[in-house]
Each structure stands twice: as C-alpha cells, then as structure tokens.
Amino acid sequence: MSMIEAIRDAMDVSMSRDDTVVVFGEDVGFFGGVFRCTQGLQQKYGASRCFDTPINELGIVGAAIGMAAYGLRPCVEIQFADYMYPAYDQIVSEAARLRHRSAGDFTCPMVIRMPTGGGIFGGETHSQSPEALFTHVAGLMTVVPANPHDAKGLLISAIESPDPVIFLEPKRLYNGPFDGHHDRPVTPWSKHDLGEVPEGHYTVPLGHAAIRREGSAVTVITYGSMVYVALAAAEETGIDAEVIDVRTLVPLDLETITASVKKTGRCIVLHEATLTSGFGAELVALVQEACFFQLEAPVLRVAGWDTPYPHAQEWAYFPGPARVGAAMREIMETR
C-alpha cells in the first residue's frame, strides 16, 4: 500500500484498539486531510474522535496538550511542516517539558504529524525540513519514516509512546520511493517490498536504525527521501556504500551508525534540510567523536543550501543523486 494508506491504517488500527486516541487538524475531519491521510476516519469513528479544527496550529497543539493531560492520546496533523512555527512555543515550552516540570504529575502522550520535504514545486512554504528544530529540544522524540512499512509501524509506536513524538512524513515518498530523478517516473509502493504492509497491529520500535544497503566503502547516514537518493547514487557511482536509514533522529541508534562507520572508515551525512545547524551536524559530531581513529577521511555533509527553498530552481536546491554521487567519489579519493 502507499505511505498515505499506511499512515491512515496506523491511525485506524490505533483508534479501533484505544478509545482515547483522537485525530484532528485542519481539513482532517470531513475531507480527510489535504493529503487524504485521515480519509474515512471521521465516518468510521465519529466527529468526536476525528474532527476539523480552526486554522490555528498553536491551538491544535495547545488543545492537544490539554487533552493529553486529561488522559487522551491526540494524534494531530499540521498541514505542512512549514506551518508548525506558530505551534512551536506550545511544542517546545509545553509539550516537551510537561512531564519534567511537573515531576510526572502531568504527562503529554501525543503525536504531531506533519508532511515534510520538497520535490513537489511547493516553494518555500510547502517544502521545508525542520527536523533539527525538534532534535535540539529535550523531551521530544523525532521520527522520519522512509517507507510504508516503517510509516505504519513507527506511527503506531509513536501513538503508544508516553511522550510527545514529532512525526515527519516525507511527502515526496507518499506515493513511491522517489530517488531524486525527477525526470523519471516513480515506481509506486505497490511494486516495492517495503510497500507490503502487514494488516492490523504491529510496531516498529522507536530508536532503531535500518541498514537499507550493506556496503564496505563508505557509510551514508540519512533518513526520509534521501534514503533513495543515496541508494541511487550508490548504484550510479558503483561505490559500495552502506546506506543507513536512521528512522528515529531522537532517540538515535548510535550503535548501528558507529558499527558501520568503523567498518567502512568513511562517512557521508545526507539530508534535505539546510546545511548549517541541520541534524547532519549532530550526526557528524557524534560520528567523529566515536569513530575518530577509524576515519580515513573527514565526514562530509550533503544537504540543502542555506537559503529558502526556491520554487523554480527546485532541482538545483534538492540534493539529488548527482551531488551525492560526487561526494561519494570525493570521499573515496581522500586518503
């Protein structure tokens, strides 16, 4: 099934198992969401458990915090990650710290879903990847699925988590594993093993990375759409890269990462978000500290440019297989 169906299925399964799970956001109720991720849930569970909200992200998250404090498990949608900023205070100052500041008296089990990333000619306000703005915040978990199987399993884990989870959905992957070759058709998930999604309830635990390609030459650490860009670059350069999909940015599976880098001795960190202070910087800092004596070359970063996400020049901005391949060649030449 598609990633959209997998995400919907995760909410459906959770709502049917647990009456305290409620779903809401802008256009998510009657209409089923601008990306159709909540389609059918209002009809199935009623308007008390899946409903439309006024256009106020602060209100969506703030209300969800109150509901979580009451004892519900809200799973809310922010229509685009680019629109989460109005809710940022409620996320950072409230959701993330409630358990700590109240010493566990009040807790905040909630999921904030938001489509992230570019590749759809959405311009600067439909293309952003703000994950690093969450990973810096103690008390939050940040998850980025890269395929339907993980999307469903991780979202169920997130909904069942006792603490707030930011769930970033790479919108360019909703319908298939886009690898950055925008001039080629994308094979739909239905033709991909990771598009095979088990029925009913299962979880993919938070905090565990997945190795998507085994390799011996260089480790590429990435997540979201960039997983497929890295895989494409490996095929196209013929460089035997090991591609790690971290899946959960916080908490991070550092063991899998360091084991791989110690094996390959080379590392590239790859994401679509702007370079400076992106989550890639944290990955580099951790890798160079843990693998310093095994590294044969500096860790390289391939990321979005430090500019707003442009409309017309989308493919000059998006870090596609060419840029990643070039970095792979460069790092293999360093010794």
Binding site: E26, D27, G29, F30, F31, V34, A47, S48, F51, D52, T53, P54, I55, N56, L58, G59, D82, Y83, Y85, P86, F121, G122, G123, E124, T125, H126, L275, T276, W305, D306, T307, P308, P310, H311, A312, Q313, A316, Y317
Partner: protein, 408 residues
Amino acid sequence: MTTPLRFQVPEPASRPGGKPDFSNVVIPEAGSVERPNVDVDPKEIRDLAFSIIRVLDRDGRAVGPWAPALDKEALIRGLRHMMTLRAFDARMQMAQRQGKTSFYMQHTGEEAVSCAFRVALSPGDMNFPTYRQAGLLVAGDYPLVDMMCQIYSNERDPLKGRQLPVLYSSKSHGFFSVSGNLTTQFIQAVGWAMASAITGDDKIAAAWVGDGATAESDFHAALVFASTYKAPVVLNVVNNQWAISTFQGIARGGSGTFAARGLGFGIPALRVDGNDYLAVYSVAAWAVERARRNLGPTLVEYVTYRAGAHSSSDDPSAYRPKAESEGWPLGDPLVRLKDHLIAIDAWSAERHTQAETEIMADVVAAQKEAERHGTLHAGGRPSTRDIFEDVYAEPPPHLRRQRQQIGV
C-alpha cells in the same frame, strides 16, 4: 455524575449531495443600513457588525446613505478591472492545467472586494494582502505581463522564480510581498501603519485575511496592537464562506459574524456585501478616511462567496454541494455592476460583449508576451544563482562557498 457532556463540532448547512442552503445568511434590504460619521464612537455602531451594508438593489439601482459618489467612468473602469481579473484567472487557470506552472488560485465571485477597495486608497498606501487579492494589482494598473511572469517563474519573473505562483510583491504598487504562511501579514500591516504614524506621515495600511485565517493567532496580535496604538490601518476580513474544506463556522464559532471580533477591542466593525462594488468602495472609503484622519483602525468583513476551487490543487465537490454557488444569495459582482451601469444608461449588453472581447484579447496578448520569456518547465528561466542572492544583502562566506560548489 450529572448528565454527561457532549462534544459539538459545527457542520455546514449542507454537504455534497445536499441542497445548497444559505438560509442562515440574513440579508437586509439595500440602502437600509445607516451611515455614521467617521468620527462616531465605536460603541454607538456595534449593530453594524451584525448587519450587511448594501447599495445595489434588485433592480440594479444604487440606494441609501452608502451610495458612493462614483461617476460613470469610474464605475466602468471598475467593471473593466473585474472583467480583467476574471479573464486573467481563466487564462492562468488554464495555463496551470496545461502544465505551464505548478499552481494557481482564482478570485471567481470575489472580484469586487479587492478591485473596489484599491480605488479607495491613495498613492503610497500599503496593502498586506493574501493570495486572493490580485484585484489590488489589476485595479492599480500593475502590468499583467509581470504578474504572469511571476506565475510562470520565468526569466522575467520579478521574484526570480523563488516564490510560489500568485505570491506577488510590488512595493511601488502598494502591494506587500504575499506570504505562504497565513495571517502573518495582518500584524505586519499594523506595524507598517504604526511606522507611518511614528514618522508623522499620512500613509495608511490595509491588512487582508480570509475567514478561515482569522483563527490564526496573528489576528489577535494585530487587533491588540491596532487597538492599543490606534494604528491607521484598515483590517479587512474576506469572508468567502469557506477555508479549504472547512466552512466559515469552524473559524467563526459562536459569534454571528467575523466583524464581531472587532467589538472586543473597541474597534469599529462594518459588514458589507462583498459582491456589491459600490458598497465595497463606499465602506472602504469610510474606513480609509478614519485611518487617514488618525481616528484609528476599522475592521471590515466582506460577505462574499468563493465560487471556484480553493486552488488548482482543490476539488470543492468533495466537501460542498456542486451547485452551491448558484444558491449564493448575493449574486455575481460583475453581473451586478453591469446591470447597474445598464440601469443608469452608462452601459449596454453590446458594449459589455465588446468589452469582454477586448479584455480577453489584452489578456491573451499579455500571456503571449509573458510566455516568450518562458514558462515553469520550458523556455527562459531564472538562474540557479538566484537561489543564493538576496538571502542577505551581502552574501556571507558560507553562501559563497555553497555557490562555488555548484559553480554559479
């Protein structure tokens, strides 16, 4: 325990398959609402937030105290502005379908609001619009070609391909850069107006927001600051009944109207028939005069209807009756102004058809001209260098390094 509470979610009067139902929209007679002086005490006119100011009656006559002093030429110009915007929408909507751009948003049914408001402004005044006020540009004689080049993100795009289509910007035409984030501009307009007052200028600002976007918290910031500093700003709420799939009741809640929001801040609030060009102009002129005379902000709710889809990515038939727009009781702003002009012998069916042909010809000519400079995926386009410029006035070292990496 006492009787259990029940959760209540507002629902529109009708949904797909149902009959259009606007029985909840109470429409007073044209000419029936009084016109206070601009220096009236806001307390005295609270009721205006719950009525609808209308000028054009059923027979196309301009009646009542709000009938403006616009001569025939001005009215004909207004009609041409609206016709131009509609023709422009038609061509650009089609261009989007043809893949010449990624995205488009129409104004169908709402042309009077921005077209008439623009005429009430003076040079140097500044609008802080949403994506649905291109009438401010059209009625301000901004070149259609430049608008189209922005939509096409081509080599002549004034915004260098950076912005989503229709998020225009033109300081010289009093049109602030449209943001993709809703409502942020509402408080910015108030700040601009405060600056005009701080410097002892005589320019005023106009803020724009849709019914759905009034729910955003920036709306509150704008009303608080406007109320506290009596900023010379007109706060415009375009109530076209729908956000995307959510009807106005979701944003409005229990208050009968959006104009009512002003009452909580002591800001005079007017509600006007947004499909009545004369009423819109007249109310706009009243609010603009208040601001200009340092009497402070005015909140204006334009009651209109989004006859088309929310955007080129939207299909309204999924959430509202297909024929709902035919049921809309305030009619079509173009037809109503046309009928008025005919009623006062300033216009005729023939001249109208002729005008339609002329205007469409102009728009098509502009489109040809624009397309010579390219469309989103073909022909001349902005350079990759444009990604890196204007991030800062001076590119800092890290951006220069990044530019060099892709050799531009």
